[in-house]
């Protein structure tokens, strides 16, 4: 449930918990009128049976008292979570005398008839039955087994939270309905659809399907020739054609370029420091290349994670492993001179460490750690102590440009200062001058199953890099430990990210928030099954891509049905395919590909495309953006290789919702605003690609406009125009030729035709069908 903020001057925590209380009280028994109201001592009588603390008493504490009287919120100094604390009492002294409920203040407070002193202070009172249970428990000696202590109800709640559970092996529902019975994914989805009385949609035609799959896996459009071949192959054996298409694309470099880009958003990767100076990072691209190669090589995702946190500690001589630690240092950074006040330097240092902690938490675990920088997280079981223990992993090192064995290229990486961990403190309220409480490396309690941090430390013999603390190594081991560590959550989060990119939305829509405040999965068992499948089969993502893309659900058509939409307006049950909008990168790459000018050179230093001078609004940059960048083959590479300068973003990408890459971003905004239309109408890059597209068409089709229009549709949209479209396009080109002839008398006929065809090509780039893939 989202937080409410409409009630001024009220504690958010209290507001939310007031809501919880409503829920709790509404299920609690109403006052029990059957039992006598009061006995001779003026209190409801004790129940006449043996009561059990765990079964009878603790549920009352949990429902009616914990909100104010447990760890995290001990009003009046009272904590009802543990026996020892209950026996201590609160600020007002003891509350309980074992064996004598009449002498116990607890009973008098819950049984009080005085509105101003009765507990709980608002909402329904305890029923006579409940008070009777408490009395009987006290009279019977107030037994409290030690294992029933609840150190922190948040941890307890977290222990029950679905995302923090061990991985379960789930059996797909037994449903066999033709195409929807083969793939386990479909059986889970179909079961839900059946429950709601919804039927799935018929499959998309093979032409639509190929366009969908090719864009999805490579971020590039299929060529008309590839389309024709696929359509023909489908007529022979559709399943076989589909399998081999997916296999072929997964084996292509373009797969890593596409899916690596998704991960680079999560890793908030960019090529400059950001902040005032926005210094370029000419050696950062090794991380980007590592990511692309890892996807292409189908590197097991657990190793992918381990290397990003501690590749240098695992394999200090492996360039890729070291480059992977670029993940830690991909965030914004400032170099402050020594003249700066100490406070400013410390603030900067801890802001950067916070970025590392926050990104690790969000990217890998879908958890928001940031709150715990200043205080225990109010909802998720992340304490400030745990935040600083986690931060300790990064506190002993910093960003550094390194060379492997002193040779080869410089790589922007993370490296510890030495073998000894730096001293880390718990800063109360993020006050970095508060150095009373030292802490050591540690992980989230709630994601430790019978292990402690010590279980994850590498043995002395297993430390090939002696001048490193191996704290990040321990962190990485815990994160990827499926049995007893954070592995299950890691698997759920990445599976969900994959699902989101294939289906438009995650099974958990809040892809970056799997905490107790995040949305619940629409298909929890499916998510569980996928996560389990990933972890049980070597963490191979390509296996999951195949599973998802060969599902009938993925291959559905896009046809809208108002009756189904009335049942499932948010379209969460996947009864059809929703068209997916091309992201900024795919849009740019598609224009290059279709115009025949895409330079497919992979990897290496990033290219800087021309940016209009007036779009470079920044002052005081340590690295200026070049004023003389050209629109030439070197800058017509795929967008994933573009230099992303944080303070000077490329306008076309910025217009189309490229994130600012200052924080981890698992789900991009999808805005529809006029500046996007302005870009498609007037941006020099768009016009130049339209012109290239026109050149290509004229070269391929000669003088015949009718033929040219056919080819243009086929290249841009993967289909031939309908008659009405064809007629409208041919008329448009003719009109534009006439218009231009009358005003540009000096131009050659060829130039005029080229300009008219350019006008047409540019219009194709603006089509909804171009931007949305069915």
């Amino acid at each position: 449930m989202p937080l409410c903020s409409s009630l001024p001057r009220m504690s958010r925590a209290a507001r939310a918990s007031a809501w919880l209380l409503v829920c709790c009280l509404s299920v609690a028994a109403p006052a029990d009128d059957a039992s006598p109201a009061r006995s001779s001592d003026g209190l409801p009588p004790a129940v006449n049976r043996k009561v059990d603390f765990v079964a009878d008493v603790q549920p009352i504490f949990r429902a009616c008292c914990f909100e104010c009287h447990a760890t995290g919120n001990e009003e009046g100094g009272l904590n009802l979570g543990t026996r020892s604390r209950v026996m201590e009492g609160g600020d007002g002294g003891p509350i309980l005398t074992a064996g004598d409920s009449v002498a116990s203040r607890l009973i008098h407070r819950v049984a009080s008839v005085d509105e101003s002193s009765v507990m709980p202070p608002e909402g329904d009172r305890l029923s006579n039955e409940q008070i009777g249970i408490l009395r009987a428990w006290i009279d019977q000696g107030a037994e409290w087994p030690p294992e029933a202590d609840i150190a922190d109800p948040r941890t307890e709640r977290a222990r029950e939270h679905w995302a923090f559970q061990s991985l379960q092996s789930v059996t797909p529902p037994e449903i066999d309905r033709g195409r929807w019975g083969a793939n386990p994914i479909d059986r889970f989805l179909l079961a839900r659809l059946d429950d709601e009385g919804l039927a799935p949609s018929p499959p998309a035609n093979s032409r639509q399907l190929m366009r969908r799959i090719v864009f999805d896996l490579t971020g590039l459009p299929p060529t008309p020739e590839e389309l024709d071949a696929f359509v023909a192959a489908c007529e022979v054996d559709r399943e076989d054609a589909l399998q081999s298409l997916v296999d072929r694309l997964l084996a292509s470099t373009h797969y890593g370029e596409r899916w690596g880009r998704h991960w680079l958003d999560v890793a908030r990767y960019a090529d400059s420091d950001g902040q005032e100076g926005d210094k370029d990072r000419p050696h950062a691209y090794h991380y980007r290349d590592f990511v692309i190669r890892a996807f292409n090589d189908d590197m097991p995702f657990d190793r992918f994670v381990r290397w990003q946190l501690a590749g240098d500690e695992y394999e200090p001589d492996n360039r890729a492993a070291v480059a992977a630690t670029g993940f830690i240092v991909a965030g914004p950074h400032t170099v402050l001179g020594d003249t700066f006040l100490e406070e400013e330097l410390l603030r900067n240092r801890y802001n950067e460490l916070d970025d590392m902690v926050a990104t690790t938490g969000t990217a890998l675990l879908g958890l928001t750690f940031g709150c715990a920088r200043c205080h225990d997280h109010k909802y998720d079981a992340i304490s400030a102590r745990e935040y600083y223990r986690f931060l300790s992993a990064f506190h002993s090192g910093d960003r550094k440009e390194v060379k492997i064995g002193g040779k080869g290229p410089k790589i922007l990486a993370f490296e510890d200062f030495g073998p000894e961990p730096a001293t880390t403190w718990l800063f109360e309220r993020a006050d970095f001058y508060d150095r009373d409480q030292q802490v050591q490396l540690g992980f989230l309690e709630v994601l430790l199953r019978g292990t402690t941090v010590d279980d994850y430390h590498a043995s002395e013999s297993d430390r090939p890099k002696p001048d490193s603390t191996y704290q990040r190594h321990a962190l990485a081991e815990w994160l990827t430990d499926v049995e007893r560590g954070a592995g299950p959550l890691l698997a759920r989060v990445i599976v969900n990210r994959l699902w989101q990119h294939h289906f438009g939305e995650g099974l958990v829509r809040t892809v970056d928030d799997f905490g107790v405040r995040g949305e619940s999965p629409t298909h929890p068992e499916l998510l569980e099954w996928l996560a389990h499948d990933l972890a049980a089969n070597g963490w191979r993502l390509k296996r999951l891509h195949r599973l998802m893309m060969t599902s009938a659900a993925y291959q559905q058509g896009t046809e809208f049905d108002p009756e189904k939409a009335a049942i499932d307006p948010a379209h969460r049950l996947l009864w059809r395919r929703r068209p997916q909008r091309l992201e900024a990168e795919a849009l740019r790459d598609a224009m290059l590909a279709i115009s025949g000018t895409l330079n497919l050179e992979p990897f290496g230093p990033a290219f800087k495309p021309p940016i209009p001078k007036e779009a470079i609004a920044a002052r005081n940059l340590k690295s200026e953006y070049p004023a003389d960048a050209k629109d030439d083959p070197a800058t017509r590479r795929r967008t994933v290789y573009m230099f992303h300068k944080r303070v000077v973003p490329y306008p076309l990408l910025q217009a189309f919702d490229r994130p600012d890459l200052l924080q981890s971003c698992g789900r991009r905004d999808q805005s529809t605003v006029a500046p996007q239309a302005l870009a498609l109408l007037n941006d020099p890059f768009v016009r130049a690609r339209a012109s290239d597209f026109a050149t290509r068409l004229v070269n391929e089709c000669g003088d015949e406009n009718g033929l040219l229009v056919m080819r243009a549709f086929n290249l841009a949209l993967g289909r031939l125009p309908r008659d009405s479209e064809h007629a409208a396009a041919v008329t448009f080109i003719a009109n534009q030729q006439r218009q231009r002839e009358t005003r540009d008398a000096e131009q050659t006929a060829a130039d005029i035709r080229h300009a008219a065809v350019t006008d047409f090509c540019q219009t194709l780039f603006g089509l909804n069908e171009f931007a949305y893939v069915d």
């Binding site: 007031a18 928001t368 709150c371 603006g766």
Partner: protein, 472 residues
């Protein structure tokens, strides 16, 4: 000083629950109901996805429907402009124990400028700001501001977004997210930038994690104001009209086949809007449509004040056209580490007549009662000298003023100490400034929220108190 550099909007001191419910007025049920009703964060509910900038009502009637924020980048010195300190003059040359940004503090340094009292309120203004001085009875001076960083860029980010780091939504983005904008053919949040470029760049007017619709749009002071507003060289308006007609024609069948996708219609409309924007945005920055007398009133006839004057006049034209939020950056920097006399004299000369012109013009055009004008920098300057004749950054005490809609004129709120070093009486944080600005626009700063990565954020973080004495 407050060390919390980033915050979440979740944690507030726990108040007694009984008291809290009494305040809420309706008891538990009401509380839960309110909880359910307010799951959307915009002022009057969630923005319409098809028309995200459509005007919406705030939480209560607004005093100001527009803001013009005159951002004095670099940090002007209060003791040299609006807040003279006799004690500082008296102790000129005395060394004190003080920490400054660049180290090596000099002795206390008196202001090089003469001051005079103006208006019925008797506000002091220095000899370099005599035109602005005419308006002191309409201005509320806030003399006790403080901020979190003494480094320019974090401090500018903080003044814009409440947080001294990039990546958080700016105040203008929050306001347009909450209220939309009156004119759909122009951006809702326009930035008239420092001609030298912005320190920290576009993140100063960024949307952060809000939808990108709400980011500030940088207008160029000359030529075509917005990027991509200018057609490619060989395209005439008729060509583009024909392109749009073909586009609509070809989109039609696709739209019919995709009736479930609201986005597609919005996208078709966005092209028409973009087409209209090309005319309207070009028009609104065309200052030749103003009389010579008006241009003179803004100091455009004078070389020194031409640039800032043009931006002030453009700001008025934008507000008149229904733009919600306009930020006008001063050119260069008030960052007088040395030669304070020269620096501040020149910046005063660049802005004095234009601000006078703007305030006068707003009054005579009936915009005064609907426009909030804010003047201030990201921090102030030290009472001690630097490099002999300059002053270093001072985040501990500085001055901001507000005027126009909803503001009590002739008021002075808060004080720094006797030498102008630290806010001493009624300190005002950046969050307080933001809370007050939102309040004047009809927004309760605690209720304008956005859920991002599991946290419900707001412009004022978990703080912000209204500055009641300056409200009319």
């Amino acid at each position: 000083m407050n060390n919390r550099s980033v915050h979440c909007g979740r944690y507030e001191p726990i108040v007694n629950r009984r008291e809290l419910l009494a305040r809420a007025g309706g008891g538990l049920g009401m509380l839960a109901l309110a909880d359910l009703l307010c799951q959307t964060g915009g002022a009057a509910g969630e923005p319409d996805p098809v028309r995200p900038l459509a005007p919406r009502n705030g939480h209560f009637p607004a005093k100001a429907t527009s803001v013009i924020w005159l951002f004095m980048e670099g940090g002007p010195s209060a003791v040299d402009i609006f807040d003279p300190k006799p004690e500082l003059t008296k102790r000129d040359g005395e060394r004190i124990d003080i920490n400054v940004f660049f180290g090596d503090p000099g002795p206390l340094m008196k202001s090089p400028f003469q001051f005079q009292q103006y208006g019925e309120s008797g506000a002091w203004v220095c000899e370099k700001y005599t035109h602005v001085a005419r308006h002191v009875d309409d201005i509320a001076f806030i003399k006790s501001c403080y901020t979190g960083s003494d480094n320019h860029v974090p401090a500018i980010y903080q003044m814009n977004s409440g947080i001294p780091r990039p990546g958080f939504p700016s105040a203008g983005a929050w306001v347009t997210y909450g209220l939309g904008s009156e004119n759909q053919n122009l951006p809702g949040y326009v930035v008239l930038g420092n001609t030298k470029g912005a320190k920290g760049g576009i993140h100063n007017w960024g949307n952060g994690f809000l939808p990108s619709t709400y980011q500030g749009t940088l207008f160029r002071p000359q030529g075509t104001p917005i990027l991509n507003l200018e057609r490619p060289a060989d395209l005439q308006p008729g060509d583009q009209r024909a392109q749009l007609d073909l586009l609509a024609r070809l989109n039609e069948e696709h739209l019919n086949a995709h009736s479930g996708e609201a986005d597609l219609l919005a996208r078709i409309q966005s092209f028409e809007l973009a087409y209209r924007m090309q005319t309207e945005a070009t028009d609104v920055v065309d200052l030749s449509q103003e009389t010579p007398a008006t241009r003179k009133m803004y100091g455009i006839d004078n070389k020194q004040s031409r640039s800032f004057g043009s931006k002030c006049l453009m700001a008025r034209r934008l507000v008149e056209s229904g733009v919600r939020f306009v930020q006008v950056y001063s050119d260069g920097e008030w960052d007088a580490h040395n030669k304070l006399t020269d620096n501040h004299s020149s910046h005063c000369a660049a802005t004095d007549v234009p601000i006078d012109g703007l305030l006068t013009d707003l009054k005579q055009r009936g915009l005064w009662d609907s426009t909030l004008v804010i003047w201030g920098g990201e921090f102030g300057r030290m009472p001690v000298s630097q490099r002999g004749d300059g002053r270093d950054h001072n985040p501990n005490g500085f001055l901001t003023w507000m005027a126009g809609a909803g503001i009590q004129g002739g008021v002075s709120h808060g004080e720094t100490d006797d030498i102008g070093y630290k806010a001493a009486v009624d300190p005002v944080s950046v969050h307080d400034l933001h809370a007050t600005m939102l309040h004047l626009m009809g927004i309760d700063h605690e209720r304008l929220t956005y859920l991002h990565n599991g946290r419900r954020y707001r412009l004022t973080d978990v703080e912000g108190e209204l500055i009641h004495p300056i409200l009319s």
